[in-house]
Amino acid sequence: MSDVTNDSAKIVGQGIDRADGRLKVCGAAKYSAEWSLPRMAYGLMVLSSIPSGRIARIDTQAAERTAGVIGVLSHLNAPKLPKIPPQGRVLSLLQDDQVHYNQQPIAVVIADTLEHARDGVRALQIEYAKSVAQLDFAAASKIAYSPGKIQGNDADSSRGDVAAGMRNAVYRVSQSYSTPFEHHNPMEPHATVAVWEGDTLTIYDSTQYISGVKNTVARTLGVAPEKVRAVCLYVGGGFGGKGSSWSHVVLTAMAARHVGRPVKLVLDRPQMFGPVGGRPNTEQKIQLGTTRDGRLTAMTHDTTSYTSQIEDWPDSSAMVTRMLYACDNQTTSHRMTKLHLGTPTFQRAPGESTGSYALESAMDEMAYAVGIDPIEFRLRNYAEQDQERKLPFSSKSLRECYRAGAERFGWARRNPQPGSMRNGHWQVGLGMAGATYPTRRSAAKAKVRLMPDGTAIAQSGSQELGTGTYTVMAQVAADALGYPVSKVRFELGDTLLPEAPNSGGSQTVASVSPAVRAAALAARGKLIALALQGPDTLWRGTDANDLDIVDGWLRSRSDQTRREPVAAVLARHGSVPIEADGDARPGDERQQYSMHSFGAVFAEVNVDRDLGIVRVQRVVGAYGVGNLLNAKTGRSQLMGGIVWGIGMALLEESLLDKRYGRIVNNNLAEYHVPANADVHDIDIIVVPEDDRIINPLGAKGIGEIGITGVAGAIANAVYHATGKRVRDLPITLDKLI
């Protein structure tokens, strides 16, 4: 099958409206908590209120006698699950009386209504035997240890001779930067509905990975994966928090089995601050050395983050330093230390968001030390190839990003002197930073079905996180088929469909779209072949290569007046749908090239001279992210990332009470994410980049790069405005007055 479909392929890239936009604004899109089934009961998780110890007594009698309560699951009666070596997350599934963190699931109350379940929860009597909890990160950091590996990479790296590089340096910067504990806080909380029919289980779950839900639940409960089906049609934000199947998912299945009815379990907002992960705080030490003219002679980046008592989950903040700048002498390391808190997890650009803040702050400090422009400093240390892996980049447009971003932003008008630009009581600051995120891809499968009515259905067991999966996959299929996009429907979110990977690591488009395209091309080939068959075909004697499909019409390339609607072909052949499968996976190009997106972020801030208030007036982000499959949803992703970056820089922090191990601001009134008033101009430039090595559609992921670099650019702008370097996020006003 030729890879070229037709001359007018053009739907991909267009900023067409979201396929699910209307459903969402009308409230008609069905989120996981909205599945209601006959005889469904309501489960509520009960979470521990101490950080460490054991449950000395749990009296469920009063709760069980409460009106409407049909069951209470605790470690006293929960079925013993098969003991399997942990794979993925270590869950809290009521197997013993131990408490390892505050907000650990310790019971589930199931009732006929939500209100009755609440009454039941209140009637539970729980007594704890507390033990000493370690909640002091600074103290615990003294016994930090290496995770060995981080997502397949070594936790430590070393190249060249750092000591010599430092000795030879004319300028040195050595600083520590810290980033706080944060939580994802998607609008839609985690929600699960579980239904057993005999020994088969269906789970409706808000997840970034339906196959992960299926496999985790099957494995944990000891049932065959074929007996479990997971469904998720829409996710109201995941951001990494829904990339893993957490305890509540399995507990809902256990609860449904316990009461012999379908059970719905939805987390409330405070429950989102503990048992379902968050971004761990980090402490990052960076040292840079340069020659007199600002060429890096040595770099070190050593980070420490917290993990839970029950699982090792290392942050990856120093990874970005390994490849972003040219430097022969470098060491990096990642360490973890255990606290009595829930296990941390992936949160939008895990590692790159926090690591780029530290690295790009240090780069700014060094640019000042050397006395050259921050962009010029970065250009002098531009990495032409991946420094660590010694591989060429499949594509890298960072130079163009610096240039285009600086021009749009008006970087030239910046007086580099800190505190030199003013507007009344506002101190004005302009800062910039680099952005980057790896380009990931995993194996994926898809199916395309050409229907007799001239429409097509493309399918893959992927997820829609609000990012536009429904929309762009229909675009990809439409182009490959030669159908108008209005005639193509994309289906996802069901493990009965061909398997697709986790919608995490910004890999959905890069992984799923090649599979959809392959399936669509195969279906197209079958349609053309079919058109040539049969005694009554219009196309007798026509060469298959002369046939094209354009806008839903079969057409001769040599004589464009000869054409026929695709539905007519199917009608001639008994109106049986044509089906084709697609299977796509990365090849050895990933061993030959280093694959990343790059960008440059520019921020203008106003800082109130007396009150320390910071306002981000403007952000310009320029990115090299390959092809955008949809100009509108693509920009929205990048913009959303920038908005979150503003929050990361100025607002977000989960405030931990070190006596209780609880997050005190565990609600959206007190956990601050940007409000509209915090967000002013955001200007996004996507520089042209044609990278056919990464995948057949040349699309790099865009879900995460948007948040990277933003906190660094804002921190650097704050320094430029005030002369104060804040090395501890978020930059709240008390750090500036």
Binding site: P270, R662, V664, L733
Partner: protein, 328 residues
């Protein structure tokens, strides 16, 4: 949330009579009470809906004062023409609070009685909160107390009153009119909210079962020179770290009279007459303003996470006076 019965009062008499039932509580817009009920902090047996009483008028009284019904919604009050022109401070303070949706629901009576946002008060998992469970201790003292008091706190409680409206009412010398079974009485705003002392569970001097019917504002000499400054972590939809209601009667550049109230720093809006007197007869220069701020913050006692508030409050006072006085 516990089970409760809901009753709708048709007259104030009705409401007051219903309020004598044990465990009864009035509900206005419900924007604070319902949140507290969901969290199990408040557990009323009966809710008496007072939002349909005839308490939603704003009237001009003969002596130049204005009477605001307790049921007036925060949005309506903020956008009322007479309020905007005669009491811009009140309008600004209201608009600085919460969000449009919340202001559309919130009533004057409910705003006066909204409870502290202390984390440890809201989350019943904490075993120590004297305001929620008298005698249990105060988790905030040794905990995260960024939003807590620096003035007028007690060993038992260091919570703040979170309202913006109350700060403006303090600076405008408002009077709260309340009615109970024994009749109506008028409570000056300065005496309406309490300092925590050894009864942090009691926020105000309102007697149980008493209904707020109105707030009176005396004729104001401050219409031309008033400013409400709210300093907070995010640009909107956040409670004040510090807020200042500054109102000046300026004549030929000289301060003829002044009021200054601080929000976010104490269990009630904070006012010190000496600080205001220090402005009177002066023209607003940096020293005069800073001196008033120093007097206002005298005796401030911060905690681990809110040390910055003392200096921030002083600078905020200077900024608010500068803007109110038009001397910037």
């Amino acid at each position: 949330m516990n089970n409760f019965s809901y009753q709708r009062a048709d007259s104030t008499e009705d409401a007051i009579r219903m309020a004598q039932q044990p465990g009864a509580k009035f509900i206005g817009g419900g924007t604070n009470l319902l949140d507290l009920m969901k969290g199990g902090v408040e557990r009323p047996q009966t809710l008496i809906d007072v939002s349909r009483l005839q308490l939603a008028q704003i009237e001009q009284l003969g002596d130049g004062s204005v009477r605001i019904g307790a049921g007036v919604r925060n949005s309506d009050l903020a956008n009322h023409a007479a309020i905007r022109s005669a009491y811009p401070l009140l309008s600004q303070a209201l608009l600085a609070g919460a969000s449009p949706q919340l202001r559309n629901m919130a009533t004057v009576g409910g705003n006066l009685l909204q409870r502290t946002r202390c984390y440890y008060f809201y989350d019943t998992s904490y075993d120590a909160c004297n305001k929620r469970a008298p005698g249990s201790g105060c988790a905030a003292r040794g905990g995260i107390n960024r939003q807590h008091a620096i003035l007028g706190a007690s060993e038992q409680c260091i919570a703040t009153n979170p309202s913006d409206m109350n700060v403006a009412l303090m600076a405008l010398n408002a009077t709260v009119r309340v009615r109970g079974i024994k009749g109506e009485r008028a409570i000056p705003i300065a005496e309406f909210h309490r300092l925590p002392g050894d009864r942090p569970d009691v926020d105000t001097t309102l007697a149980p079962g008493e209904l707020i019917v109105a707030v009176d504002l005396p004729k104001s000499p401050f219409a031309d020179h008033a400013y409400y400054l709210k300093v907070r972590d995010r640009a909107s939809y956040a409670f004040a770290l510090v807020s200042v209601a500054a109102a000046l009667d300026l004549r030929n550049g000289t301060v003829h009279d002044a009021t200054l109230a601080l929000g976010g720093v104490a269990h009630k809006p904070w006012r010190v007459r000496e600080a205001e007197k220090a402005l009177i007869g002066k023209s607003l220069d940096a020293n005069v303003m800073r001196n008033a701020a120093d007097i206002l913050l005298k005796g401030a006692q911060p905690y681990e996470y809110n040390r910055f508030k003392v200096e921030l409050a002083k600078r905020s006072v200077v900024r608010a006076l500068t803007i109110a006085g038009g001397v910037a």
